[in-house]
């Protein structure tokens, strides 16, 4: 088990700064890929169907953006992320990206691959704003509490989902009946055969339900036992690929930048090896 207080004592290299760059680079790519789609969604006026978007922190109603304001905020978000990637005033631009995130994503919150799926992005950006290490050189001594906090944020997504399943369905969730029903429901919506094929095998549904619950309830262990990270990352890939193929749930898209928290060592190795 790691010694938690050590995460507040500086050590080299600067994992927080490396994570900031990796996170921003992957998020920039994801935004560029989906920018047109998100603009078209914004133009479709989703609030006329879904009603007003969620309040910030459950309290503050955000102003409605015009199409040009939406474009401007999106462009500023991209620009801020690019500046973080190249290491130009990264904390300042993390703050800029955080503000832009709030306005940009609030406007399209009902989009299928946004909804709760981008929730970790502002938390990560906030951590980057607060972290003094982010402004330092990549090989300067830095703290690692930032990475631990990001991992805790990731763990909360899975742990909370697992706890809610236990609270609402109990251990009956492992029988696979609910999974079978949700897969069938999704099939009726989408006519996707992958979901139906799984739903037709009740034992397979039970196995998947049990594995999902086990994965969600134990993901946090990797914070304390980093040697299990590879096993859990493989499980993450299987889990998100499976839910995407069978139920069209795309959590991977905006969790991928956050998952860069596990690849800072690899990035330093690549930087050292290839002189990037």
């Amino acid at each position: 088990m790691g010694n938690l207080p050590d995460i507040f004592h500086p050590a080299s290299p600067n994992h927080a700064a490396m994570f900031a760059r990796l996170f921003s680079a992957v998020l920039t790519i994801q935004l560029l890929i989906s920018f047109r789609d998100q603009y078209l969604y914004f133009k479709s006026q989703p609030s006329r169907i879904y009603g007003k978007p969620a309040r910030l922190l459950g309290r503050f109603r955000l102003p409605v953006l015009s199409a040009s304001q939406f474009m401007d905020v999106g462009f500023l978000l991209l620009l801020s992320l690019v500046f973080i990637v190249i290491g130009f005033l990264p904390r300042l631009f993390a703050l800029s990206a955080l503000i832009c995130y709030v306005f940009y994503f609030n406007s399209i919150l009902s989009l299928a691959y946004v909804q709760r799926k981008t929730n970790l992005l502002p938390l990560v950006l906030l951590i980057l704003v607060v972290s003094p290490s982010v402004d330092e050189h990549l090989f300067a001594a830095s703290t690692t509490w930032e990475l631990v906090l990001v991992k805790i944020g990731l763990s909360q997504v899975y742990l909370s989902a697992g706890i809610q399943k236990l609270q609402q369905s109990g251990w009956d969730w492992c029988t696979g009946r609910s999974v079978q029903a949700y897969l069938l429901e999704n099939y009726l919506w989408s006519d996707r055969r992958a979901g139906l094929l799984v739903a037709q095998n009740r034992k397979l549904c039970a196995v998947l339900a049990t594995l999902t619950l086990a994965f969600e309830l134990t993901f946090w262990i990797i914070i304390f036992i980093p040697s299990l990270t590879c096993i859990y990352l493989a499980a993450v890939v299987l889990f998100h690929t499976g839910t995407l193929a069978t139920m069209r749930i795309n959590y991977g898209k905006y969790l991928l930048p956050v998952y860069m928290v596990f690849f800072t060592d690899l990035a330093f190795w690549a930087k050292d090896k290839f002189g990037l």
């Binding site: 910030l56 459950g58 502002p122 972290s131 029903a181 069938l184 009726l188």
Partner: protein, 152 residues
């Protein structure tokens, strides 16, 4: 260091708080999706199909697939409400028409060939014992009736 320790504790506290209190405060969430118990025999969805002028019927598919799902869920809620509250039929029909007009707007904004269609089919979909979909058309609502505001 005290500030960062406090920040660390506060963030952990908020994450734990939303999980325990089971309440969303965007962007913090308790992630309750697919947690409720469900049963295959209770699976019922309402889908909207489009009838073309020449008579063929196809499912309404949007570039943004949650639109058909959400409107289907709303129609199912309205259908259940109509079954319970007989005195509110006019309001429920008005609400349904308002929703279908929004669907029409979405179709016209996404599909240049929207003029080829003439009516909505509101279809209830269930699964039988052998997990084969069973479709039942509940209602046919013509576009002209919707646009003219006449009762369907």
């Amino acid at each position: 260091m005290v500030f960062y320790l406090l920040f660390f504790i506060v963030v952990c506290g908020i994450l734990a708080g939303v999980t325990i209190v089971r309440k969303d405060a965007w962007p913090f969430s308790w992630y309750p999706m697919y947690a409720a118990p469900h049963a295959p025999e209770k699976v019922t969805v309402i889908r909207i199909a489009l009838q073309a002028r020449e008579g063929s019927v196809t499912w309404w598919r949007s570039r943004f697939y949650r639109y058909p799902e959400y409107t289907g869920r709303r129609l199912l809620q309205l259908q259940k409400a109509a079954a319970k509250r007989t005195g509110h039929a006019v309001f429920i029909t008005l609400e349904r028409n308002k929703l279908l007009l929004e669907v029409l707007r979405l179709i016209e904004s996404e599909d240049a060939s929207a003029s080829h269609y003439k009516a909505f089919h509101i279809v209830e979909r269930t699964v039988g014992d052998n997990l084969v979909p069973h479709d039942r058309t509940l209602e046919i609502v013509s576009f002209s009736e919707l646009r003219n505001g006449k009762p369907a």
